[in-house]
Symmetry: C2
C-alpha cells in the first residue's frame, strides 16, 4: 500500500528546469496534494493561467516563493522592493494561496550594520502588512541559515523571525520552518512550540543538510535522509505545535536538478513516507 | 606614533607554517603582547620549552587551542577524548595560561541526534571540570558557526555555550567570543553582556567573514576589515561587558598562510589598530 501523500508539496525549485505546467503534471502524477511555485515560473505561465493549471490538476498551492529583499538602504531601491512585494502579494492572492514566503535580504552593499539592516526589515514588513491583509495573504518570514546572513537574509533564526512577526496579527505575518536553515538551532524546539502557540507556522519545508557544502553553498540542499537533519524530532515538534498544513520539499542541488523529474518525485515521496509522514 | 599592541595576540593558526619559535619571534618583533599557540606547535617544541620560549620573548600566552571533541558515542573513544583533554589541561597549566579553548565536536558518525550529542558534551565538561580546577585552568567552550554543527561543533551560539557553562564556577568553565562564529547572531549583544556579567569571557578572537566561502569553509576566515563583520559594535559590546584581556587574531585562510609572516603580522596590527583598538 502506498503512503498518503496528500500533504506533500513539490516546491518548484526542486524541479528547477521544468515549466510550471510540467512541474504540476509531475506532482499530480506522483500523487502529491500540492505545489509550492516560484514566482519566475508563475510569471512565465501568466498568473491567471498558473492558478488554473494548478487547480485543474487537483492540487493546492501550499505557498508562493518568494518576496522579500527588503534591506536596501537607498530610497529608490527600497521603493522598488516594496512595489515588487505588492505584486507578489497580488500574485499569491490570484493563485489562491495564503502564504507568501519572504527572504528578507542581506546587508546592503558596503554596510556592516546588522542592527540597522534588521530594523529596516521590520519597518518594511510593517509597510506591507496592511496590503497583505487586504489581499488575504500572509507575509511569511523565512529565517535563513546563518551562513547566508551577509548576502541573503539578515534573519537567521526562527526565534528572530517570530520576534519580527510579533507586532502583527498571526494571520498577516507568519514564519516558515525550513529544516535546512534551522536544524542546528539549540532553541529550535522552543521556537517551534512558540510559533505554534502563536498560530504563525505558515509552512513546513523539508530538505537535508549534506556535506561537503557545494561550491555555491545555496545549492547544498539534499534529499530528506541524505544528510544530518533529525527529521523525526523536528517533524514531531512541528506536529506537536499544531501544524496541519502541507510539507514542501524544496531542494537546490545540481544533481537533483539533473535527474529526471519522475525520479526526483519518486525519491521525494519515498523519503517523505519514511522520514516525515510517520511523525506528522 | 604606533598603536598600542599590548593586548594583541597572534593565534599560531594564523601563521600556520611557522614553528612555535618562529611565530613567537614574529609576534615579539611586531610588538604584540601575547601569542595563542595551538597544541601541535607546542608539542612539537616540547611543552616546557614552549613555555620558556614564550616567556623569554616577553609574551603572554593568551590561550591554548584546543581541547574538546567530546561527542563520541562509544566508551573507548570517549575515554580517549577525556584523556587527551586532561593532557591539554596540563599543557595549559605548564604554559601558564588560564584559558583552554574547547571545540566540542560534531555529530558522531551515523547519528542525527543533536539533543543527545549536546547532552554528552555537558556531561563530559562536568567530568573534566574538577581536573581543570585543580590545575588552575578554565575550560573555554567555543560556539562555532552553525555551518559546522554537523561535523565540528554542536555548540552553535554564545547563548548555548553560556547555558553549558552555567552549572560551573566561571573561573572553571568560560566562553570565547570569536567574531567569525557569532557575528550573525541576533542575540549577540545580550549574550555578550550575559557572558560579561557572569565573568565568563575568557577570550576575544577576531577575524572576518569573507565571501565566497572557501572550498573548505573552515578556511574562509579573513583579515579583520576584509569582510562583513561589524567590529566596532562587537568590540564595544565586549568592552562594555568588562573584558580586559587579550585580543587574538585567528585566521584560517590559504592566502594568509601563503603570505610572508611579517606581512601577516603587519596587516594584523594595522587592522587591529583601525577596527578594534579604538573600541576596546
Amino acid at each position: 500500500m502506498s503512503a498518503d501523500l496528500s500533504r506533500l508539496s513539490l516546491n518548484t525549485a526542486t524541479t528547477k528546469h521544468l515549466t510550471l505546467a510540467q512541474a504540476v503534471e509531475a506532482a499530480a502524477a506522483a500523487g502529491l496534494g500540492a505545489v509550492g511555485p516560484w514566482r519566475d515560473r508563475v510569471q512565465e505561465a501568466g498568473v491567471e493561467k498558473a492558478a488554473r493549471l494548478i487547480s485543474e490538476a487537483g492540487l493546492r498551492v501550499s505557498s508562493l516563493c518568494r518576496g522579500g529583499f527588503l534591506t536596501a538602504a537607498d530610497d529608490a531601491a527600497a521603493a522598488a522592493a516594496l512595489e515588487d512585494n505588492r505584486l507578489a502579494i497580488r500574485e499569491a492572492a490570484t493563485l489562491g494561496t495564503h502564504e507568501l514566503i519572504l527572504v528578507v535580504g542581506g546587508l546592503p552593499a558596503g554596510s556592516r550594520d546588522l542592527v540597522a539592516t534588521r530594523q529596516r526589515v521590520a519597518d518594511r514588513i510593517g509597510e506591507l502588512a496592511p496590503y497583505a491583509a487586504e489581499h488575504g495573504v500572509r507575509l511569511v518570514v523565512e529565517a535563513l541559515h546563518p551562513m547566508f546572513a551577509a548576502d541573503r537574509a539578515v534573519v537567521s533564526t526562527l526565534g528572530q523571525a517570530l520576534d519580527l512577526a510579533a507586532p502583527f496579527d498571526p494571520d498577516v505575518v507568519g514564519v516558515v520552518v525550513d529544516t535546512y536553515h534551522v536544524w542546528w538551532d539549540p532553541q529550535l524546539r522552543e521556537s517551534i512550540a512558540r510559533a505554534g502557540a502563536e498560530g504563525r507556522i505558515a509552512s513546513y519545508q523539508v530538505c537535508d543538510w549534506v556535506l561537503p557544502l557545494a561550491a555555491e553553498p545555496l545549492n547544498s540542499r539534499g534529499h530528506v535522509g541524505d544528510g544530518f537533519v533529525d527529521f523525526e524530532s523536528i517533524t514531531r515538534w512541528v506536529a506537536e505545535a499544531g501544524y496541519a498544513g502541507d510539507v514542501e520539499v524544496e531542494i537546490f542541488h545540481e544533481e537533483v536538478w539533473a535527474a529526471p523529474a519522475e525520479r526526483t518525485l519518486a525519491t521525494m515521496a519515498d523519503r517523505y513516507a519514511r522520514h516525515v509522514l510517520p511523525y506528522l
